[in-house]
Symmetry: C2
Subunit: 453 residues, 2 copies
C-alpha cells in the first residue's frame, strides 16, 4: 500500500472509530479521542457525519475549541451548528480567536451575539476589530490581523531584543517586525532572522529590509495569494491608501484562500455551491442544484427544438438519429479542453487583446487537425455500419465543422464572461456544451438534409 | 473598476508593454523592464508569449535568474527553454538554487548536465542532494531542503543566540531551530519567537516545543500540504523511518503543491495534461488531447449503437429523436454535481465504507426529488409540443430513472476509481457522462418501445 493510501486509510479508520464509538454510546471515550484532535480535523469529522451524530459530537467538543472548529467547517454546517448553540455559548466561542478569524466568524453570528461580543471588548480591541470589519471578507483588509509588532528605525537591535524579552510571547507566525516612522507609516520589515544574526549595536534602519512592499488593504484576496506565492512570504504588512499601517496578513490565511479558490472552481464548474453539506436535508440539497439544472434544461430544450426542425430528414434516414450524438459529444469534449486552457490562462493574466487572436488561431488549428484525423475515423466507422459513402462524408465533415465551432466557442465564451465581469470558471463549461450540442445537431442534420435527402 | 479587475488590468498592460517593446526591437528597454520583475512573473510572461518572442525574451533574462525562472514555468515550456540552452548555461543556471529546487530541476536536465553539476559540488553538498533525489518528487523527501539548523537540548538559549550571531545569515523561511539528540534523532523545535522572548539562562530543553511532530519522508506531498494547512506551519522537520533528521519542508513549497494540485484537477477534469503550453505547435497540442478524445469517441459510439438498436422505434415516432438528448443531458449534469461532491469528500478523507451507503441514499433521494419536479416540467413541455400524453409520461419517467442512475453512478464511479488506486478527479466526469448518455438513451427509447409503439 502506498504511503498516501495508508494515510487516507488512517483518516478513514479514525472516522470509522468515531462513528462506532458514537453509536455504541461510549461518550467518554469519544470525548477523549476528540480532544486529541486538531480543530481542523474535528471540523472535517463533523462534516462527514449525518446531522444527528454530528450534533452529539458537537456537544462533546471542548468549548475552548468551539470557535476554531466553527471557522474550519463549511458554511452550511457552520450555520447548522450556530443554530444549535445558545447565545452565551456563542459569545464564549469567540474568545481567544485571532482578530481576522473573529471578524470572519462574527459575520455569521446573530446580531445579538455580535453586540454582546463588541460590548465585552476593551476600546482598543474593539477599534481594531472594527477596522477589520470595515473591509470585505475577501480583501487584504478582511484577511488581516492587527496584532503587529512595530519598531522604529532609529533604535538599536539591542533595544529591540530587550523589548521583545520584556514583552514576552509574540503573535503566531511572526517572522518579522514591522518598521514604521513616528506617524505609523510603513517603512519596511526587520526579519527575526536578521535580528538574531546581526550585531546588536546596529540600528534597525541599518538592518531592515526596505525592498518588501506593504499590501494595500483594498487588494483582493486572490491577488494577495499571488503575491505571497510569488515572493515566498510568511507575513506581510497591510496599509491604507496613505501608507499608514493597519495590520498584517499571515500565510495560514493565504493558504486557506488558495484552497477555497480551488474548491470553488472545482465545485463551481459542476454547478454546485462550494459549501454544500454532504448530509444536508434532501430538499435543501435538491434546491442547491436547481439553478444550473434549470439552465441545463433550457439549453437542452433548444437543442431538442433544433433536432425537431429536422424530423422530416430523420424520418427518411433514421441512422442520423443514432449518429448525431457523436458529433455533439466530441465537440463538447474538445471545446471543454479549450475552455480549461483559457480559464487557466485568464487566471494567470496571460491573455491580452494582443495574443487572444493568436490563441484562437492555435486552437482552431488544433481543431482542424483533430477534426481531419478523428473525422476520418468516425466517417470510416459510419461507413462500416451503414455502407453509405455519402453519409460517412457528411458525418466526417460535420465533425470537422463542430470541432471548429468548439474551438471558437471555447476561446470566446470565457473571454466574454470575463469581459462582462463574471468568473469564467463558473458558466463557461455549461455554455460551451450548450453551443456544441446545438450546433453539432444543426450542422450534421443540416448537411444531411442538403446532401442525403 | 474593482481592485481585482484593476490588478488584472495592470498585469495585462505589463504583458502588452513587453510584447510591444519586443516587436519594436527596443531590447535594452525590455531587458531593464524584465530585470525589475520577480522570477515567477518572468515565468508567467514567458508562458504567455509565442515561441519566437519567448526565445528572444529568454535570452534577455539575467543568467542569475535562469534557474528560478525555469522552476516556475510549466513542464512544456521548461523543456523548450532547456533545449535552447548550452550545457554551460544549464550548469550555471543550477547555481544558487535551494537543494529541493535543484533536485526538481535536475530531474528535467540532460544526463551530461546532471553529471557536471554533481561533479562540481563538494562531497557534503552532493550527499545531501542525493538524499533528496532518493525520494520521489511528490513526497515529503522530494520536497525537503537539507539546510536545517539543529541545536541540542542541553545548551542554554544564550549559547544558541551567540552561535546564530557567529553563524550569520539563516536559511530562508527559518521560523524555528530543530532540536536533536546526539544521534541526530528529532526531538522537537525551538521557535525563533520563543528564543527571542525567553530568558537566555534557560536551556533549549526547557523552552522547546515537543508537541510538533516531524514528517515522515515517505509521506505524499498531498498529505504534507494537509498537515501544513491544518496546523498552520511555516516549516516542519522531515525524518526517516527511524526518526533521524533528514531535512525540512518550508511553506513556500507547500503552497506550490496546493496550487499545482488545484490546477491539475481543473485541467485533468477536462482531459488535458496539466502543463500544456499555450503556444505549443498545433500537432503537439492536438496529440496532447488525443487520449481523452479517443475515450470519448468510444463511449459516444456505444451510445450511438444503443440508439441504433431502436431505429425501428424512432422510425415510427421521430419525436423521440428530438427528445432523447434532453434525458441524456440532464442526467449528465446532475451526475456531475454528485461526482464533484464525492470527489471533494474523498479528497478530505470524509468517505468511509460506513457512510458511503448513506451518501448514496442521500444522493438518490435528491435525484428522486429533482426527477419528480423536473420530470413533470419536461413532461409538460413534451405534451405542449407533441400533444401526446403517453409520450409525456414516458419522457418524465425516463428522466426520473436516468437521474437515479446518475446519482448511483456519481457516487460509485469515483469510489471505484479510488478503490483501484486512481485519482477520482481525473476519469470520473467522462465515465459518468458516458453512463448517463447511454443509459438515458436506453431507458427513454426502451420505455418508448414498450408503451408507445
Amino acid at each position: 500500500m502506498s504511503s498516501e493510501a495508508a494515510q487516507r486509510k488512517k483518516a478513514e479508520n479514525k472516522f470509522q472509530a468515531f462513528s462506532e464509538a458514537l453509536e455504541g454510546g461510549a461518550l467518554q471515550q469519544v470525548r477523549k479521542m476528540l480532544n486529541a484532535l486538531h480543530p481542523a480535523e474535528i471540523a472535517h469529522l463533523l462534516e462527514s457525519l449525518p446531522p444527528p451524530e454530528r450534533n452529539v459530537l458537537w456537544e462533546l467538543v471542548d468549548p475552548e475549541d468551539d470557535g476554531e472548529v466553527l471557522l474550519h467547517v463549511n458554511d452550511d454546517v457552520r450555520a447548522d451548528l450556530i443554530r444549535s448553540m445558545k447565545k452565551e455559548e456563542l459569545v464564549a466561542a469567540t474568545e481567544g480567536l485571532d482578530l481576522d478569524d473573529l471578524a470572519d466568524l462574527l459575520r455569521d453570528l446573530p446580531d445579538a451575539v455580535i453586540g454582546e461580543v463588541l460590548h465585552s471588548m476593551d476600546a482598543q480591541h474593539r477599534r481594531r476589530l472594527e477596522a477589520v470589519l470595515a473591509y470585505p471578507e475577501d480583501t487584504a483588509g478582511g484577511l488581516m490581523n492587527t496584532d503587529t509588532i512595530t519598531v522604529r528605525g532609529d533604535v538599536t537591535l539591542d533595544v529591540v531584543l530587550r523589548y521583545l524579552r520584556l514583552r514576552g510571547e509574540l503573535p503566531e507566525l511572526t517572522d518579522s517586525l514591522i518598521v514604521v516612522n513616528r506617524f505609523d507609516r510603513y517603512l519596511g520589515v526587520l526579519p527575526l532572522t536578521d535580528l538574531l544574526t546581526s550585531s546588536p549595536e546596529l540600528t534597525v534602519a541599518e538592518v531592515m529590509d526596505r525592498s518588501v512592499e506593504a499590501i494595500d488593504a483594498n487588494l483582493s484576496a486572490e491577488e494577495v495569494a499571488k503575491i505571497f506565492e510569488d515572493r515566498d512570504l510568511v507575513s506581510a504588512a497591510v496599509v491604507d491608501e496613505n501608507g499608514a499601517l493597519l495590520g498584517r496578513i499571515t500565510i495560514d490565511d493565504v493558504v486557506d484562500v488558495i484552497r477555497e479558490e480551488a474548491r470553488q472552481s472545482l465545485m463551481g464548474m459542476a454547478g454546485l455551491q462550494e459549501d454544500e453539506d454532504l448530509f444536508a436535508p434532501v430538499w435543501k440539497k435538491a434546491q442547491n442544484r436547481w439553478p444550473w439544472l434549470a439552465i441545463n434544461l433550457v439549453t437542452a430544450f433548444v437543442a431538442s427544438r433544433i433536432i425537431s426542425a429536422f424530423e422530416h430528414t430523420i424520418g427518411q434516414l433514421v441512422a442520423l438519429a443514432a449518429l448525431m450524438p457523436i458529433v455533439a459529444a466530441v465537440g463538447g469534449n474538445t471545446g471543454n479542453q479549450t475552455v480549461a486552457l483559457i480559464v487557466r490562462a485568464l487566471a494567470l493574466g496571460q491573455v491580452t487583446p494582443r495574443n487572444a487572436l493568436r490563441l484562437l488561431m492555435k486552437e482552431a488549428g488544433v481543431s482542424l487537425l483533430n477534426g481531419v484525423v478523428w473525422g476520418s475515423v468516425v466517417g470510416m466507422f459510419a461507413y462500416m455500419f451503414y455502407h453509405d459513402m455519402m453519409l460517412a462524408i457528411v458525418m466526417g465533415s460535420a465533425l470537422v465543422l463542430n470541432l471548429l465551432i468548439a474551438a471558437l466557442a471555447g476561446v470566446l465564451i470565457p473571454l466574454t464572461l470575463r469581459g462582462l465581469g463574471r468568473d469564467p470558471a463558473l458558466g463557461s463549461s455549461i455554455l460551451l456544451t450548450a453551443t456544441t450540442d446545438s450546433m453539432g445537431f444543426l450542422v450534421f442534420l443540416g448537411l444531411a438534409t442538403i446532401f442525403l435527402i
